[in-house]
């Protein structure tokens, strides 16, 4: 049985308009002059001929059609075309003869039936995470879309105030076939719960004989929003072109978090693989003489007292210099020493340049020794130390004996190394004992990739999304 129609006068042109929701009708549109009427006044005017063509629905649903839901007959009495930046959808407003409203949402080539409800666990739409739990009908629902929609077109009648051009905020959540929709403003939050329905079944319910059109395709290009309205016009093209079914824009937050996690794992894996490619070149161990280690400094040479020769081979990455020191000093229950070490990489000067330098130094009365023939090209400074003592009967010992240094050079080949050490007398405001003996092991590696940033970057990219996920869904996990 169709809804009983009452006639009201269009506030714009005076034409007789059929309304079906009686006093509850709040907004109605004159199909002749396009006036959008709110009670006694015209609030907007639509060019009905152009707008109907432009906003033709994807399906064959039309105003006045009837179908059985919930054991009762419903009639479509209104439609809203809502648009987002990259897609649009239709809301068909249906009313039963006992005044119960249902919303049939048509989008993505499918249908969802919605009804308003009060959630058991209301959520704040301004502060919603990736998952929500609104009621006890199942688990968490995933937040798939959130954004701001605009009413592009209205036809028929509605039991609430609606205005073309009006915008609204919305959040769409999915849990299998169950859908939740939250529409909100500063004055009102409305929760709707619904279920997706097979398109063919909806067609059958309404007695539509035509075939269900192929799914719509939407262009997801966010950059071009100048003439998007014309781009989103009616285009049932997917089946013909063999393209995949259209996808609405997913929750960009979830996508970003997943992307960050994947990138983090890739970085961690890469850092692990690349680290294994470094290759040991050579190691040297020196002993400082006790006589020199107690004074202002000691110069380490090879066992013959000559500069240490090192040939840097070609490398695909950087070089790594590992310094391992083992200074020892005064014994006792508590104490500490600090040992500063400088490793200088030297290159032999060209003979002509060396000759000129020696002439100059001789003229100036400067000392000429075995280091004169070398030119400094790189320098590494490192501190080693050991601190120990007893606190509350417990012995403690802190030491720092190994340092790593990475460097690059475009000029591999023969180098010389000079190692200079010194006792730190007053380092970090602490008094230290002089080192009485010391040894230093110096190892050079090639093909070293700077993987530390990869490792820590990977850790951050994995930890941050997981943390954000739990933080944003703390309400769901607290249930």
């Amino acid at each position: 049985m169709p809804l009983e129609a009452q006639q009201v006068d269009c506030r714009g042109c005076g034409a007789k308009i059929d309304i079906h929701a009686g006093l509850r009708t709040k907004t109605f549109v004159c199909e002749y002059c396009g006036s959008v009427c709110d009670n006694e006044k015209v609030v907007a005017v639509q060019d009905m001929q152009a707008k109907r063509k432009e906003f033709k629905p994807w399906s064959h649903l039309r105003l006045g059609m009837k179908a059985q839901f919930l054991g009762r007959e419903y009639q479509i009495i209104g439609r809203i075309r809502a648009k987002e930046q990259t897609w649009w959808w239709d809301e068909w407003f249906m009313l039963s003869e006992t005044g119960f409203p249902l919303w049939l949402q048509e989008g993505e080539g499918g249908f969802t039936i919605f009804r308003v409800f009060y959630p058991t666990y209301p959520i704040n739409p301004w502060n919603v995470g990736s998952f929500v739990k609104l009621d006890n009908t199942g688990g968490n629902a995933q937040v798939r879309e959130r954004g701001s929609g605009t009413i592009a077109f209205i036809e028929g009648e509605l039991t609430w105030n609606a205005l073309p051009g009006e915008t609204f905020n919305y959040i769409e959540c999915y849990r299998g076939p169950v859908r939740y929709s939250i529409e909100y403003s500063e004055k009102e939050i409305q929760y709707l719960r619904g279920e997706t329905r097979d398109s063919q079944k909806i067609y059958d319910k309404f007695g539509i004989k035509e075939q269900v059109p192929p799914p719509l395709t939407f262009d997801d290009d966010d950059d071009d929003d100048d003439d998007w309205e014309t781009e989103r016009t009616y285009q049932p093209t997917a089946a013909a072109t063999g393209e995949s079914a259209p996808k609405k824009k997913g929750s960009s937050g979830v996508v970003l978090l997943v992307a960050m996690t994947v990138l983090g794992l890739v970085l961690l894996l890469t850092s692990g693989i690349v680290t294994g490619t470094s290759k040991h070149v050579k190691s040297y161990t020196f002993k400082a003489r006790a006589a020199t280690s107690s004074g202002d400094g000691v110069l380490l040479t090879d066992d013959n007292g000559k500069p240490i020769k090192l040939k840097l081979p070609k490398t695909t990455g950087a070089y790594e210099l590992r310094l391992a020191a083992s200074p020892t000093g005064r014994k006792g229950w508590r104490g500490g020493y600090c040992w500063w070490t400088q490793v200088v990489f030297l290159k032999e000067r060209p003979k002509a340049e060396l000759k000129k330098l020696k002439e100059y130094l001789k003229k100036e009365g400067e000392k000429i020794d075995q280091w004169t023939r070398f030119e400094k090209v790189h320098e590494v400074n490192a501190w080693f130390g050991r601190y120990w003592g007893i606190d509350e009967g417990e012995r403690w010992n802190e030491n720092s004996f190994v340092k790593q240094h990475y460097f690059r050079t475009d000029d591999p080949g023969p180098y010389y190394i000079r190692v200079y050490t010194n006792n730190c007398k007053d380092y970090y405001s602490r008094k230290f004992d002089p080192v009485s003996r010391a040894s230093l092991t110096l190892a050079v590696y090639k093909n070293v990739w700077m993987t530390r940033w990869m490792f820590w970057g990977g850790i951050l990219l994995v930890v941050i999304p997981i943390g954000l996920f739990f933080w944003s869904n703390r309400s769901a996990f607290s249930d």
Binding site: Q6, A21, G22, L23, R24, K26, Q68, F69, L70, G71, R72, L95, T98, G99, F100, P101, L102, R115, V116, F117, Y118, P119, T120, P122, N124, P125, W126, T159, W160, N161, Y184, S185, E186, K187, E188, I189, Q190, Y191, E195
Partner: protein, 211 residues
């Protein structure tokens, strides 16, 4: 008792009611405390012609198959987004208000207000009120203005048709909490209710179906 306008009999079983809308002539009658009837020459609101609801005054039914109710009266309220209806129900010795709004039904009972009202400006959709008036923490979903635009049947008070009031709706502890604050910002009504599904309310001669 008879309608002072047309003489039709009035079922005044609610003898403390102050307002009665005659179902025959539509005139509104106001009663004094002595249950004597006085016709109102200028009723403030027109009787409701078509509120498009499954309910009507005088109906009876059951809630969740247990609670028998009679519908005594109703208020039609307009707010910026549309209309809602408040049905005055008698359930045994008690009275409730059944709110019907866009397919949502809530059975409200009144609660006394024992604490000073928070300022209306402090309410906004999305905010919360915690521990006020011994209520659970409630999450506010709507703050708006509304007015009574029509009424029918027997009411416990004369409705102030056309006079705006502020209402605040919230959810807390699985219940719906609603507060109506008069224009003076001082007097208010507080109600706490349980949401009902369509199927929870059976009205005589109405059959239920499945999705």
């Amino acid at each position: 008792m008879a309608c002072p306008s047309c003489g039709a009999p009035i079922d005044a079983e609610r003898r403390f009611d102050e307002v009665y809308n005659c179902e025959y002539c539509g005139n509104t009658a106001y009663f004094t405390q002595q249950v004597s009837a006085e016709g109102d020459a200028a009723p403030q609101g027109a009787p409701i012609a078509n509120i498009f609801s499954r309910f009507k005054v005088g109906q009876h039914g059951k809630i969740r198959g247990k609670m028998d109710f009679n519908i005594l009266g109703m208020l039609q309220i307009e707010y910026p987004s549309g209309y809602w209806t408040e049905w005055r129900l008698r359930v045994g010795e008690y009275e409730y208000w059944l709110q019907e709004d866009e397919g949502i039904y809530v059975l409200f009972g009144q609660r006394p207000i024992e604490e000073p009202l928070p300022p209306v400006e402090s309410f906004a959709a999305g905010s919360s009120l915690d521990g006020w008036n011994r209520l659970p923490r409630w999450f506010i979903i709507e703050v708006n203005k509304a007015k009574v635009v029509g009424y029918d049947g027997q009411l416990p008070f004369p409705p102030n048709v056309g006079e705006e009031f502020t209402y605040i709706d919230g959810l807390g502890g699985g219940q719906v909490i609603s507060m109506e604050i008069e224009a003076d910002g001082q007097s208010a009504n507080l109600s706490v209710g349980d949401p009902l599904e369509y199927e929870d309310i059976q009205i005589s001669s109405e059959e239920m179906g499945d999705w």
